[in-house]
């Protein structure tokens, strides 16, 4: 049985303000029709974000550029205990992307120490979508615009406030510690939530249908079958190899390791990398399996819709549409998937 509370809008704001005493609190701030996460400082009005923020949620856990070893020979990782962080305003697409990032950094043969430490120290307060952007297509990936799991707390806007659903032990502790801001939700409020959710799904579904995006179940096979298609060449014609699609993507995780020298220390750094860069797969001696732009564009799709389906059982795309907005060449992932479906012999 889910545990749902109600927090009146003013109480919620006071709750966040009090949280600041023990946490770094990030909330989305409206900015030219978009939302950007910013550290919460009074006086800032909390405005509920109706769709996902611009920044990918990975940037809270895996930084664009960071030192991964103060010195390559120092055995222990010399990091200060990071201050616990609360991030408010993630959407269900963002939560799904954490499954991919967790798989990469927390599972496998070794655990990434920095990522795990930050993951442990970050509380995620997600929210239902109450609207969507033109580029949103989560439903095509069978992801609903409201979270069901993977959050610590989840917000649903209802009149004069929010329903707050508990999704983890940490979320429960938080509500327990700050009881005065919460009261049990009424059944009628939950019904309002459900009806709002249904309404948005119907609206988004109509939008997705107009875009004619192939179904999740066939994505792996159309990407495989389109391997030799000319469409990669056609779609990459305008690519300027900026890497924005990778950097803004919540599931892209590739990074480059680089060494440097500062006096007698030899720090090791990690920076986000992009498979759209010419040297991404190049080896010493010059062999480069991703020599051409078309191969690199295809690589992005194979990684998302083939590799991750085989290894994690889900595609590494949540339909957030960030890459569509970020691309200066207007290369649209939805359009590529649609064209792949057209050239694929499988009936869609």
């Amino acid at each position: 049985m889910s545990e749902i509370y109600y927090s009146q809008a003013a109480s919620w704001k006071n709750f966040l303000t009090e949280l600041r005493q023990s946490f770094r609190v990030y909330v989305p701030q409206k900015n030219n029709g978009d939302y950007l996460y910013q550290e919460y400082r009074d006086p800032v009005n909390f405005s509920f974000n109706s769709y996902r923020a611009v920044q990918p949620v990975k940037s809270f856990l895996f930084y664009t550029k960071e030192i991964i070893a103060e010195d390559i020979f120092t055995r222990d990782l010399n990091t200060e205990e990071p201050r616990p962080t609360v991030v408010v305003g993630l959407k269900n697409c963002d939560l799904h992307s954490l499954k991919v990032q967790d798989f990469v950094f927390k599972e496998g043969i070794e655990v990434d120490p920095l990522y795990s430490q930050r993951r442990e120290n970050t509380i995620f307060i997600s929210g239902d979508c109450s609207g969507f952007k033109e580029v949103c297509f989560c439903l095509a990936l069978e992801i609903y615009p409201h979270p069901k799991e993977g959050f610590d707390l989840n917000l649903s806007p209802v009149s004069d406030g929010y329903l707050v659903e508990v999704g983890s032990e940490r979320g429960r502790d938080l509500v327990g510690r700050y009881q005065k801001f919460f009261q049990p939700a009424k059944q009628t409020q939950i019904e309002v939530r459900e009806s709002k959710r249904r309404g948005l799904i119907e609206e988004l579904d109509r939008h997705i249908k107009e875009k004619d995006i192939p179904k999740r179940t066939i994505l792996q096979s159309i990407v495989r079958q389109g391997y030799s298609s000319d469409l990669w060449k056609n779609f990459c014609l305008s690519c300027v190899e900026c890497g924005a699609c990778n950097f803004i993507c919540c599931t892209c995780h590739c990074f480059l390791i680089g060494d440097t020298q500062i006096k007698d220390r030899n720090p090791r750094l990690r920076v986000w990398d992009s498979c759209q860069y010419a040297n991404f797969a190049r080896v010493a001696g010059g062999a480069n399996p991703l020599k051409r732009r078309a191969q690199r564009l295809r690589n992005r799709f194979l990684k998302k819709f083939d590799f991750f389906v085989d290894n994690l059982g889900m595609p590494a795309c949540e339909g957030c549409g960030r890459c569509i907005e970020a691309c200066p060449a207007r290369i649209d992932i939805r359009e590529i998937l649609r064209e792949l479906a057209k050239v694929s012999p499988i009936p869609t």
Binding site: S228, I257, G285, P289, K303
Partner: protein
């Protein structure tokens, strides 16, 4: 907290000039270092960078480690300019290595090309330590020219223990041996190709044509072991550079049987 990206220091005890472009570095790690034959390490030059190499030494020796390196890139060029007693870093070992247990009781055809003989030397040393466990071991090796032939002294030593045939792509005046690509000496062996295993390591183009030849000769794809070379940077299946199909070469390889790869397009690129 244990940091997977840090290295342990190792001192270069000796440097052997093998060919005009290849040197072997004998390293003494600060602590004993264990690896299985065929696994690789990340070798770093402090402040400069790191790259993956498969040790060429006997894995039964824990206090020393040998890495044979061809001068082909930014890091290897710097490594080649080093002298003895310099401190380098090592991380690992990573990857799966050769499954010696699977090889026991079988005939093993080892095919090397160029500097690809380095990892195979480690394999051979492992096999030599219990040679009776294996039905038969054959080595076929090709280099570009006689000068580029790696481990020349060792090759004649090994030929006393196992069946060794070598070739060069291009001969010079003094050279008297076989001339031709390594695929031209893959013939006339008295082994049961249907049951034998083959281990191949060399440049991609050599691996490609050797694999096709082995299939032609009747080797089964699941009995052909290939050491794949991709851009392995973290060694841990996280940085994303070495993907082929559903695998990361660093964690699922670097040794793959051909049946796992044959349906993945462009594996030899």
């Amino acid at each position: 907290m244990y940091n997977i990206y840090q290295a342990q220091p190792a001192i270069i005890e000796d440097i052997i000039e093998e060919t005009p472009t290849i040197k072997s570095f004998i390293l003494r790690p600060q602590r004993d270092f264990s690896f299985s034959t065929g696994q690789f390490i990340e070798l770093s030059l402090p402040g400069i960078g790191e790259a993956p190499f498969t040790p060429s030494s006997d894995p039964n020796k824990k206090d020393k480690l040998e890495v044979t390196i061809m001068n082909v890139g930014r890091l290897t060029q710097q490594l080649h300019s080093l002298s003895k007693n310099v401190r380098v870093g090592i991380r690992g070992p990573y990857g799966n290595g050769y499954p010696l247990e699977e090889f026991k009781g079988r005939e093993i055809l080892i095919v090397g090309g160029g500097v690809g003989l380095a990892p195979l030397r480690s394999l051979l040393l492992s096999l030599f330590s219990e040679l009776k466990q294996y039905k038969k071991v054959l080595l076929r090796y090709g280099a570009r020219t006689p000068k580029d032939t790696l481990y020349r002294n060792l090759l004649s030593e090994w030929s006393k223990k196992i069946d060794v045939i070598t070739t060069v792509d291009t001969a010079d005046k003094e050279y008297k041996g076989n001339v031709g690509l390594v695929t031209t000496i893959l013939k006339d062996f008295s082994i049961d190709v249907k049951k034998a295993v083959s281990v191949v390591c060399g440049p991609p183009i050599m691996m490609k044509f050797t694999t096709l030849k082995l299939i032609d000769l009747g080797f089964k794809p699941e009995n052909i072991y290939l050491s794949m070379e991709k851009n392995m940077s973290c060694g841990l299946g996280k940085c994303g550079h070495c993907r082929i199909g559903k695998y990361y070469v660093c964690k699922d390889g670097p040794v793959f049987t051909y049946d796992k790869l044959e349906n993945i397009p462009d594996i030899w690129d």
